[in-house]
């Protein structure tokens, strides 16, 4: 849920802010992309995303909720029929704010707010990526350990020879790694 806004409203009063944000949201759903100041963009974003969430739900109650903000029925229709299906796969983040050069008259930082309507590209979840990286690191470490064990094992060959091939096997690698390292550490004082 968006954080409640602290401090003064935009435009002089709460009613003025509500109207301005509603107009911005309506323009966004009408044109897909609008240019506004950064402050307004940051304020309107949660409202716009909530409207898209309602549109994805798609029932009459949701449509009436949206109509309390966006007064134009044509725009609401466009939101429910054209925009919502594009957002079906997307889990939040329906809008994108890109900063652009400041306005000339008052040097206000300006933004482009747009609906993200392109299909979701299957980016793997962060946890999955981290796991894959960890696995790669582990296998690399196992190979190092195996190599070290092989060099250490020249004098006391028999025990290490059984351990090293097991460590090289990729499936068993995760379990074998600590043992192989422990073996290598034990060998060092003797050698």
């Amino acid at each position: 849920m968006p954080t409640p806004t602290k401090g003064p409203r935009l435009g002089g009063g709460p009613a003025h802010e509500r109207l301005m944000l509603a107009n911005l949201v309506q323009s966004l759903f009408e044109h897909d992309s609008i240019v506004t100041t950064e402050a307004k963009a940051r304020r309107m974003r949660p409202l716009a995303e909530r409207m898209v969430t309602f549109a994805k739900r798609g029932d009459l109650a949701a449509r009436r909720k949206v109509l309390t903000v966006v007064k134009d029925k044509g725009v609401v229709h466009r939101l429910f029929v054209e925009i919502a299906p594009d957002m079906a796969e997307r889990e939040g983040g329906y809008t994108r704010v890109t900063r652009m050069a400041a306005r000339k008259g008052d040097n206000a930082p300006m933004c482009i707010v747009e609906l993200v309507r392109e299909p979701v590209n299957a980016k793997p979840k962060r946890a999955v990526v981290a796991e894959a990286e960890a696995a790669a690191k582990r296998s690399a470490k196992d190979e190092e350990a195996a190599a070290a064990a092989a060099t250490e094992a020249d004098e006391t060959a028999e025990v290490e020879a059984t351990e090293a091939p097991a460590a090289e096997a990729p499936e068993a690698a995760a379990n074998e790694a600590p043992e192989a390292e422990a073996e290598a550490a034990d060998e060092k004082p003797q050698a």
Partner: protein, 64 residues
């Protein structure tokens, strides 16, 4: 109403004002058109940001 007791010397005035400095604008090179641009901002020369093109972000004739 509280008022200053003494006239402020030119020296003090000037040493205060000597600290009003303009900070240089951080600039990076646009990866698309190689022109200088501010970071985290659509390039005003070519209108690209992260391989996305925004025609409205391009510099108009009014912005020098």
């Amino acid at each position: 109403m509280a008022v200053p007791k003494r006239k402020m010397s030119r020296s003090n005035t000037r040493s205060r004002r000597a600290n009003w400095k303009a900070a240089p604008v951080a600039l990076t090179t646009c990866p698309a058109c190689k022109s200088p641009t501010q970071p985290h901002m659509a390039c005003p020369t070519c209108g690209t940001y992260k391989d996305r093109q925004y025609a409205v972000a391009e510099r108009t004739e009014h912005q020098a």
